[in-house]
Symmetry: D2
Subunit: 357 residues, 4 copies
């Protein structure tokens, strides 16, 4: 049996932080040993946290005191999960990595550093080797690994088997994203009651940028230009759902493509986490439903086991001989953030990147 690893969770009181706490409370070998925050430092976790998720706060964790984000206090930590806000995350993560911490970040700050992996374990696990380059470049004992934008993952995961197996030429995505995707306090209530809130050009663009990078890594033998030939676009919105990003994708191909084969490729899709039987790996990363009017955010966001780790795809349709449509639903703070982070940690453990500093 594997020795127990100690994890610190920065931003443990945040929307992603609580999912780390929830998932690690039951983890076979990673223990949530250190809960860090900012405004809530010094207070009992159970009193200060907004537990905007399922189940009740694990009893033994409720009484822990929230600690400062201070490396000196985390001497014996094996893994540092960092769901810190954009801007705040960057320098903190760098400081910790430099001091030898193994940082798994959900924040965007280092996602596009040339030597930093941006990992979806089922999709581009081979990119973990960027860590070696990173350590060499920066002369660090620790490292930074990132997970992509939740919205990008909601499209990139189902697009991976499609891109691998068919001659895709375009993807046009329309999203309906949940409030928790914006953190807390996040979206003002007056922006969302009786409204759909467009996220605008900036958010559209970063979604496309991240999907593009992920797909380019899917076929690593293939020269990058191929992805760039694909038309990728996203129109992004928030609606008044608590968790779960719902995305409609129209996909075009360079040749006739049968939607049933596309569906097959999704249903049978699996990756290293499944092969390695990682504890947090869902049996199927993509669950395909053929029920009409499904998936639905409320009913399907916790799909899979562990709950929220499977993406649900539905409404598959042959639009014309070279166009299909599908809809996907991802639990943004689980699969799209904390769950992705835990799965990445497990992958790194398996690949030998995480041992006692």
């Amino acid at each position: 049996m594997r020795r127990t690893l100690k994890a610190a969770i920065l931003g443990a009181t945040g929307l992603v932080g609580i999912e780390y706490v929830r998932m690690l409370a039951d983890h076979p070998y990673i223990k949530p040993a250190y809960l860090a925050g900012k405004g809530s430092v010094g207070k009992p976790y159970g009193e200060i946290v907004r537990w905007q998720t399922t189940g009740n706060i694990p009893k033994d964790i409720a009484n822990q005191e929230v600690k400062p984000t201070d490396p000196k206090l985390m001497d014996d930590v094996d893994i540092l999960f960092s769901p810190l806000p954009q801007g705040a995350a960057g320098p903190v993560e760098e400081q910790f990595a430099k001091m030898g911490f193994n940082v798994i970040s959900n924040s965007p700050d280092h996602r596009f550093d040339r030597d930093v992996p941006m990992i979806i374990p089922e999709v581009n696990p081979h990119t973990v080797t960027l860590i070696d380059e990173q350590r060499k470049n920066r002369d660090w004992k620790g490292f930074i690994v990132t997970t992509p934008l939740c919205t990008a993952q909601g499209a990139a995961i189902p697009l991976t088997p499609i891109y691998k197996n068919f001659k895709m030429s375009g993807v046009m995505i329309t999203t309906m994203q949940s409030l928790s995707g914006a953190g807390y306090p996040g979206i003002a209530s007056l922006d969302i009651v009786d409204n759909a809130l467009p996220l605008g050009d900036g958010y559209d663009a970063k979604t496309v940028k991240e999907i593009t990078r992920i797909l380019s890594e899917v076929k690593r033998n293939v020269n990058e230009p191929e992805v760039n030939e694909i038309t990728l676009d996203a129109t992004t919105h928030r609606i008044a759902t608590i968790h779960g990003h719902y995305e409609v994708a129209y996909v075009t191909f360079k040749e006739d493509t049968d939607v049933r084969k596309v569906m097959d490729s999704m249903e049978t899709f699996k990756g290293e986490p499944q092969d390695l039987k990682l504890p947090t790996a869902p049996e199927k990363p993509i669950l395909v439903t053929t029920q009409d009017a499904r998936p639905q955010v409320f009913f399907d966001r916790w799909a899979g086991n562990p709950p929220g780790m499977s993406i649900v795809v539905g409404r598959l349709k042959q639009v014309n001989s070279r166009t299909i449509r599908f809809v996907s639903l991802i639990h943004n703070t689980v699969r799209g953030a904390a769950g992705g982070g835990v799965l990445t940690a497990e992958l790194l453990v398996e690949k030998g990147y995480i041992d006692k500093r």
Copy 2:
């Protein structure tokens, strides 16, 4: 000056009915003379109606009693507006038309009768001549004219100038529709709080069918097959907004097409209602916004003058040389139903189809 025409509003207590009442209360020559209902017959309109719209119930109308849907009581009515529920509408409308009433229906029941026009006054006003055919076929003194599905209008209106001016090859639409589009009681609250509700295959299909017909009528010299060569698809949903259907459209072309020209074609788009200066015609049927993150349902659904008669288009983007994206917002019960009905009535008056029975 034009003589005052008397209108009956069937289903006057419904979500579309109230917009007829609101708009006709101030109309220069059409007066709401007869308010009919079903469950609410015999009760004072102001007490029974759920006034789920803007402004307060017009004072003189609040005290009117709701009457039965009985042609014998409507002897002197010049125009009969019929926003009755699907199924109930069909036979009632036929009965009234046969008796000589001029019926303008918002219901789907007769939309696809071969000799029944389905009119958006700015888009296919020439199809009113089907009335002549209808009267001949059926030996009726009255007639039935319909308005299309609100969701179809939200796409078809902005697509009209595009289809007229550019070589369109495909349209892929994703909708976020309001609750009022389903009538009352309509959508169960438990289906929509913390959820996005897919409307499913049936609704997707009827949206596509109606857009197809409208576009085919836009270019009447053109042989129908052309429209059928266009790929049209829709993925439809409800979200927890009260009024206003928001639609994202990706449009592809057979040749390079400049989004700025597409934008121009929308901004300058007008039709017979504008030329004829019909009282309910908005100056611009399509208002184009270049503000980021607009239109928004809450803030833009009442756009134009009369309020709610203009569609707002925004987020226009050149996706690639042959693909553009736009977003549209239509007030479903106004432009998409009652307002469209009143505008159609004005057009028919102007064209001589409505005179004393």
Copy 3:
């Protein structure tokens, strides 16, 4: 160890039904053996059910077929849980009880039959003896036992220790109730978005009537008139929450009463289920919080263990020497319905009322 008892759940696809299924799936000795419905008969439970609760559908139950409400098919059933709609429930329950079934009903139909207990196990467990009377009166081998209106329970449970220990003279309640309290489809979305929906005189009155009966049973030695001297009133509403009834209570007394003593009486309140250590009994039926701005519906409705079985009371305040205020939150479909039903079943088992028919 106790032998396993077989339970049938009528209305198993309803909002209360799903909580029975969820809670019994893990029950130490009551197994959900028979799932009955109406519109969904013949379909796999997992496909037809709207799982509007926490966790995923228990795997082994998802594939069960929904069966008709037919006593002939339930020969070996020990307990029949009946969360059927008002009106439909009454005759069905009578028929089953007559045939020897032990019926635990959440419906209002038999609540005010003179010989039918209306039980909250911590509050009036002694009233189970009405069963003996009932059997005698009606010459039945089975019986009907009911649970009270969820809204009434949300007030009656915290009022029980107050009424027992202090000289109460009045209670004025204002409620904010959840959508699930109305069943499915229940409340129309257009009645609740951007609105608070008053439930009106009828609902106010039945809430008061049930609280009155419960309190009168609390002090059984005491002559009924005492309760009738208490002023009881309720102003009831629905708001757009999914589960959880939130109630504000102002309580007046005939003599000076210290809110801290009232708080103590709630915190230390327990009943037979706790003494008997019934499996579904929460350690504390009432959890008192002193945090400002708590309880909150979203965060506290699943309080206790089993989740949702404890009522959370907060915002306790000494208004004047003879008036206090408190706020309570009850999970309406759990503590207020299915959980109350399961706990009642356990009580009846313990008291020897349930054995093989």
Copy 4:
């Protein structure tokens, strides 16, 4: 005819500010001449404002540039409306008043200054004479007048005729307040979707404090202690409504009191604004409804003429011989803020307090 007065609106882009703009756009003699903001300075009002109200932005105002809060630029302004945020308002208002501006403030900062009136024109118009004292005390040419907390007004207005005419001994209020009451961005969406948000001790207390002051001013001949003998309490909440505070009040009396007489006193209630026929005075400040399940936030908040200036009271009930219940609904940003401010300005004009500085 009265000469046109020029008004400046500070915080013109805020939720109260927009109602000032909307109401003054049509005002017979007060013109919105100067729109001031902070973050939005320099931008066209129509582009920057979140028009979270009814109707469209008045055309001539949409193009005005938002100006800084600078007295030097407002030389010719007759009335200064100040709906600035708490904290920011205080010093600004003092500075302007000192310079000779006539300031009508909706902010709490000066409400409890001893020489500053806190006015509801129908309730305590005589307190305007505090202005004379204020000018003397402070040696100012201008002055500050305030309007009370919207929540306090929702109770204080209907309580005024009750307190005047009956021997009231207690009032226990439970509120369901709208999101707009908290300004923008105000309440986080994650605090309100599927939740009711208690506002906590601080907000409860200030509501009581303001009601107490208003009632003490109602009977000015009466020694203050009388009000203090009344038990007043409030339990305050926000729910996911956009505008409109809904409040349930239980009122107790020292002697038997007939609810029909209480109802009469509300229905016939009027004050100086009605006697003086001020342009913004509703015919009836209190509209009483006897319909079951009314008032409702969505349908009744714009009651009266001008819309939103009448409070709607309903669900009146004789609870026992000395207790009644009623429910009230106030449009918080209109009657409770901007509309109250405009009505106060009209009162001050009438009483000669506003002339050219």
